[in-house]
C-alpha cells in the first residue's frame, strides 16, 4: 500500500460509507477530495469538515473519518466555519455546502464570508435542486430549465461564481463532479490558497435533476461543458523544470510557492488574473447556459481575515493560556479610576 509524504495511506483519508443515491455526483466529489487531501499531504488531524444541511452537507461524513466534522444548520456553514477558523488558525477548514444551502438560505453568509476572505476551501456541490426534500428548484437552476415533473423555472439563476467575484473572492473556480483530471488539481490548489478558495462544482442529482429539462444533468453537462484549461497542480517541493509559459500554458503561483499549471483550451487569451474579462466570460456562459469550468479567477495578492484582524500569529487563540490572556489586576484598578 502506498503512502503519502506524511507516511499516511490513502484509506486514512476515507470516511463512513455514503448514504446518498447510487451514482450521485456528490460521491464523486468526495472521492476527488480524498485524493487531493492525500496527495497534498494534508495532516488528517488538522482537517476540519464543516457543512450546512442538505445532501451535499451530509458528505462531510464520507471523508477523513479521523477529522472533526460539523454538520451544522441549514445555510450556516459559512459563519460556523468563520468562527472555527478564527478560533484556531491551524485548522484546515473544508466547507461543504449545496446550492440551496449557499445560494438561498445562506446567501448572506456566503457573500460575507467571501468579503472577509476566511482562509478555507469552500465547495458548493451544485445540482440546481433541493434533493433532500425531493426535487424543488434551487436558486442556481437555469432560467427555463424544468423540474422532474416538467414545470419550468421562470427566474434568473444565481451564478455563484459571478456572485463570489462580486463579493471579493480571491480564488474562484468551477468544475464538474465527473472530471477527476480537472477537479483534483483544482482542490489541491484550493488547499494552498491563502484566503477563501471557492469551487462551484456542478454535481448532477441522479434522482431529481438528471432528466431532459435539466441543465445540470450528466448529459447536459457533458455536451455543454466549456473547459477553460487543462489543469495540473505542481507542489512546492517539485522543481519547475520546463518552461510552461509558451503561450498555451501558464503557471499560476500560489502564495506558498506551489503552482497551478494551466493549459488553455477554448479561449487562448483567457487570463484568470484579469477580473473584468473573467467576469464577462462567466456572465456570457450563464446567458448561454453553458458550463464554464476551470480556474476562473485568482488574485494572488490577497489579505485574509486573520491578517486583517491582526490575530495572534504564533499560536491559535484557543491555545492561549489564562496567564497570557488575562490582564493584570492593576489594569482593572486603572480602568475603575475612569468611572469615579
Amino acid at each position: 500500500m502506498s503512502e503519502n509524504a506524511l507516511g499516511i495511506e490513502k484509506k486514512s483519508y476515507k470516511g463512513s460509507p455514503s448514504t446518498l443515491c447510487v451514482g450521485c455526483g456528490h460521491d464523486s466529489i468526495t472521492q476527488h477530495l480524498v485524493s487531493a487531501l492525500y496527495e497534498t499531504n494534508t495532516p488528517p488531524h488538522l482537517i476540519t469538515k464543516i457543512s450546512g444541511i442538505g445532501c451535499s452537507s451530509k458528505t462531510t461524513n464520507y471523508f477523513v473519518n479521523q477529522a472533526h466534522g460539523f454538520n451544522s444548520i441549514h445555510g450556516r456553514m459559512a459563519p460556523v466555519a468563520t468562527g472555527a477558523k478564527v478560533a484556531n488558525k491551524d485548522l484546515k477548514i473544508i466547507g461543504i455546502s449545496g446550492d440551496g444551502d449557499s445560494a438561498s438560505i445562506g446567501l448572506g453568509g456566503f457573500v460575507h464570508l467571501l468579503r472577509r476572505n476566511v482562509p478555507m476551501v469552500y465547495i458548493v456541490e451544485n445540482n440546481g435542486v433541493y434533493g433532500l426534500t425531493k426535487g424543488q428548484f434551487s436558486a442556481t437552476a437555469d432560467l427555463g430549465s424544468t423540474v422532474k415533473s416538467g414545470a419550468p423555472n421562470y427566474f434568473e439563476s444565481v451564478d455563484l461564481c459571478a456572485l463570489a467575484m462580486t463579493s471579493g473572492a480571491s480564488f474562484v473556480a468551477r468544475a464538474f463532479s465527473g472530471d477527476k483530471k480537472q477537479l483534483v488539481p483544482l482542490i489541491s490548489a484550493a488547499l494552498h490558497h491563502k484566503g477563501t478558495a471557492f469551487i462551484d462544482i456542478i454535481s448532477p442529482c441522479v434522482t431529481f435533476a438528471n432528466h431532459e429539462g435539466s441543465t445540470k444533468s450528466f448529459n447536459y453537462v457533458k455536451s455543454n461543458k466549456l473547459d477553460l484549461q487543462e489543469i495540473g497542480f505542481v507542489p512546492q517541493a517539485e522543481e519547475v523544470t520546463a518552461d510552461y509559459s509558451d503561450g498555451e500554458s501558464t503557471l499560476v503561483k500560489m502564495h506558498d510557492g506551489s503552482y497551478l499549471k494551466l493549459t488553455k483550451i477554448n479561449d487562448k487569451n483567457y487570463d484568470p488574473l484579469n477580473y473584468m474579462t473573467a467576469m464577462s466570460k462567466v456572465k456570457a456562459a450563464q446567458k448561454e447556459q453553458s458550463i464554464l469550468t476551470g480556474l476562473i479567477y485568482h488574485d494572488p495578492e490577497t489579505e485574509d481575515l486573520l491578517t486583517k484582524e491582526n490575530i495572534l500569529k504564533n499560536k491559535a487563540l484557543v491555545h492561549t493560556s489564562q496567564k497570557d490572556f488575562q490582564p493584570k489586576a492593576d489594569s482593572l484598578k486603572n480602568i475603575m479610576n475612569r468611572y469615579r
Binding site: N61, I73, T82, G83, A84
Partner: protein, 595 residues
C-alpha cells in the same frame, strides 16, 4: 430634604448626554447616593428625551415617576413634562423658546433662563451654542444644588481630558449658568448634607461596560455581534478595552471581535468558535435573540459551549427599542424548537454584569451548552453606583476537554458517553493530534459515539440525559440573593428591578408596618433556595417587568403546589419600576386578601 428627583427635558441629538453625565458625576463625587435614568427615543436627532436624576439619603435611587424640579429645554413637551411634577415643584425653562406663560399654574414656581443668549456670549458657532446650552443648565442646577464651581469644573476637566479648548468653553458655560442663577433664581434645593466619604470606594458605571470588562477578564476571546440597541455598547466597549488589554507586546490580538452580517451569523460564528475551543459570546437584544433561536437548539442538542448576552428592551416586535423590559425571560429559557432548556443568568447590578462574564463562560464550557445572560436596558445603558469592580482571578473552568495525552491513556473515546454520570460528556477539540480525537458533530439524532441514529431508545436516552444535565446544574448556578427573617410575606424579583423592590420593602415596613422577606433570582433553572423560600412564605409577590408575569409563570410551572401563595405583580410601560407604585400595588393585594 432627604429625597430629591428632577428631570431635564431636551431633544435628542443636542449633546445633552455629556452635560447630564457631568452633573451626575458631580453629585456622585460629592458623596450623594444618586442615579440617572436616560429616557431616550429611537431616533438620532429632534425627538424628546428626558434625563431624570434622583438623590436619596438612604441610597434608594430607583426611578421615581414624580419629580420635584423640571428643567425644560423642549417647549413642545412642557405640558407633558409638568404632569410628572409634584405640587410645589420648580420649573426652570428656556426663555429663548416660545412658551405660553399661561401654562404655568400657581402650584409651581417658574424661572425663565435665556440659555441661548448666555451660550452665544461664549461662542458664535451655532453648533457650539447647541452644546454649550446644555452646560449652562448644568451651571444653573449646580447653583440650585449647592455644588461648587471648582468641583464641577474638575469633573468637566476630567470628562474632556486632552481637549483643552472644549474644557475651557464648557467651564465658561457652566460658570455663566451658575452666575445667572445666583443673580436671578431665588431657589435652592434644601438638600441633606452628603457624606463625603460615601462614594470613595465606589464607581459610577453602566452595566454594558461592566459586562464588556467582565468578559475580557473572564476570558472571552471571541465575540461576534450585530448592532442592536441596547446591546451594541457591550461589543463596542469589549473591542475598545480588548484593543489595549488583550493585545500582545508584538501588537497582535489575542481576541477576535467580528461584526457579523446578521444575528444568524453572529450566533453561528459563536458556535463555530465554541466548538473549536474558544470562549465565545454574542451580545444582542430581543429581535436578535429571536433570530438566534435555531442555533440555540443546536448548541443545546449537540452540546456546544456558547453565550448569548441579551440586553433586553421592550417588545414584542420592534417594540420600544430604547425602553426597558424583562420580556425575553420565557423565550430565552426555552429558546428554539423541540424540547430545550438553557442556563439563564440574570444580573441585577453592574458588579454582577462583570462577574457573570466569567461565570457564563465557565458554565458554557463546563456544561457544554448555551448560557443566556439576561441584562436589560436600564441596567445596561444607565449609570449605576457600584462598589468598585474587582476581579477574583480564579482559574477559569474549562470543562471536560480531552487532550492528546489524555487520549493516549484511554482505550477509546466516545463523544457522548456519560462516564461521570452527571450528564456531561468529554469532548475533544478540532486539531487534536490523535487518531481517535475526531468525532462528527450533528444536530440530528446521535449515539454515544456521535454516529447518526434514529433508534427510539437512543433518542429518548439522549433527551433524558440533556434534561438531567441542565437540572443537575441548578445549584452550581449563582444562588439567589435572600433576606429572610421568617416573615409571612415575601417579595421575589430578578434583574434590574432590585432597587425598586428593596425600596418598596422599606416603604411597606416604615409606612405600613408590614415586614416582608426578599429573594432575587439570579439564574434558571431554579436554585433549591428558591423552593425553600416559597415553602415557608404564606404569600409571595413575584415582580416582573413584563405584561404576562413571565417569572411568575415559570415558577408556577415548576412549582404548581404554590399556586395559592403566589401573586404576580407586573410593570410594562417601558420605564423602570417605581417603588411607590410597587408598594401600593402590593398593599392593594394585601388589603384584598389579608390572609
Amino acid at each position: 430634604m432627604n429625597n430629591f428627583s428632577f428631570t431635564i427635558s431636551t431633544v435628542n441629538g443636542s449633546g445633552s448626554q455629556s452635560a447630564n453625565n457631568i452633573l451626575l458625576k458631580s453629585l456622585f463625587r460629592k458623596g450623594y447616593p444618586v442615579s440617572g435614568k436616560n429616557i431616550f427615543p429611537s431616533n438620532i436627532a429632534g425627538l424628546p428625551t428626558t434625563y431624570s436624576i434622583r438623590i436619596n439619603k438612604e441610597g434608594f435611587t430607583s426611578f421615581e415617576n414624580e419629580k420635584q424640579l423640571l428643567v425644560s429645554m423642549n417647549a413642545s413637551t412642557l405640558k407633558q413634562d409638568m404632569s410628572t411634577l409634584k405640587k410645589g415643584s420648580v420649573i426652570i425653562y428656556n426663555s429663548n423658546l416660545k412658551i405660553d406663560d399661561s401654562i404655568f399654574s400657581a402650584h409651581h414656581q417658574s424661572f425663565g433662563v435665556p440659555f441661548k443668549n448666555l451660550a452665544r456670549e461664549i461662542s458664535k458657532s451655532p453648533n457650539m451654542v447647541k452644546f454649550l446650552t446644555n452646560m449652562i443648565y448644568v451651571g444653573v442646577l449646580s447653583h440650585c444644588l449647592d455644588l461648587e464651581v471648582d468641583h464641577v469644573h474638575q469633573v468637566i476637566n476630567d470628562s474632556f481630558a486632552n481637549k483643552p479648548a472644549v474644557v475651557e468653553n464648557n467651564q465658561k458655560a457652566m460658570l455663566a449658568g451658575y452666575e445667572y442663577a445666583k443673580e436671578n433664581i431665588d431657589f435652592k434645593v434644601d438638600l441633606f448634607k452628603p457624606d463625603t466619604s460615601k462614594n470613595k470606594d465606589k464607581v459610577l458605571i453602566d452595566g454594558n461596560t461592566a459586562s464588556a470588562l467582565g468578559l475580557i477578564y473572564g476570558g472571552c476571546n471571541f465575540m461576534s455581534w450585530y448592532p442592536i440597541t441596547p446591546s451594541s455598547s457591550v461589543a463596542e466597549q469589549y473591542e475598545k478595552y480588548a484593543k489595549t488589554l488583550l493585545t500582545t507586546d508584538e501588537n497582535q490580538s489575542q481576541f477576535a471581535c467580528l461584526q457579523a452580517e446578521d444575528e444568524l451569523s453572529a450566533i453561528s460564528m459563536v458556535l463555530g468558535a465554541g466548538w473549536s475551543g474558544a470562549r465565545a459570546v454574542t451580545p444582542t437584544s430581543g429581535p436578535g435573540l429571536s433570530l438566534m433561536a435555531e442555533a440555540a437548539g443546536l448548541s443545546y442538542f449537540a452540546e456546544i459551549p456558547a453565550v448569548i448576552w441579551d440586553v433586553q428592551r421592550a417588545g414584542p416586535s420592534t417594540g420600544l427599542p430604547t425602553r426597558t423590559m424583562q420580556g425575553d425571560l420565557s423565550s430565552a429559557y426555552h429558546l428554539s424548537h423541540g424540547d430545550t432548556e438553557h442556563i439563564v443568568l440574570i444580573p441585577g447590578t453592574p458588579a454582577e454584569c462583570f462577574e457573570m462574564g466569567e461565570i457564563s463562560l465557565n458554565l458554557s464550557e463546563e456544561l457544554q451548552t448555551l448560557v443566556i445572560v439576561l441584562s436589560d436596558l436600564d441596567l445596561g445603558m444607565n449609570q449605576w453606583i457600584s462598589p468598585e469592580i474587582e476581579c477574583q482571578f480564579q482559574p477559569w473552568k474549562r470543562g471536560k476537554v480531552l487532550q492528546k495525552e489524555d487520549l493516549e491513556k484511554l482505550e477509546s473515546f466516545q463523544r457522548y458517553e456519560d462516564i461521570d454520570k452527571d450528564g456531561v460528556c468529554y469532548r475533544t477539540l478540532p486539531g487534536t493530534n490523535h487518531a481517535s480525537a475526531g468525532y462528527f458533530t450533528r444536530g440530528t439524532g446521535h449515539d454515544t459515539d456521535a454516529s447518526y441514529s434514529e433508534n427510539p431508545e437512543v433518542f429518548e436516552a439522549l433527551l433524558q440525559r440533556l434534561k438531567f444535565k441542565i437540572e443537575n446544574a441548578k445549584n452550581q448556578l449563582p444562588a439567589p440573593q435572600v433576606q429572610d427573617n421568617k416573615n409571612d410575606v415575601g417579595i421575589l424579583c430578578y434583574g434590574s428591578s432590585e432597587p425598586a423592590a428593596l425600596e418598596a420593602l422599606n416603604i411597606l415596613k416604615r409606612e405600613h408596618k408590614i415586614n416582608c422577606d426578599y429573594l432575587r433570582i439570579k439564574a434558571l433553572p431554579f436554585h433549591d433556595q428558591v423552593q425553600d423560600f416559597l415553602t415557608h412564605h404564606k404569600k409571595v409577590f413575584v415582580i416582573d417587568v413584563n405584561r404576562d408575569g413571565q417569572m411568575h409563570r415559570l415558577i408556577l410551572q415548576k412549582f404548581p403546589q404554590f399556586w395559592n401563595s403566589l401573586t404576580s405583580i407586573t410593570h410594562f410601560n417601558g420605564l423602570p419600576v417605581d417603588a411607590q407604585d410597587l408598594s401600593q400595588n402590593i398593599l392593594t393585594h394585601l388589603s384584598k386578601d389579608p390572609s
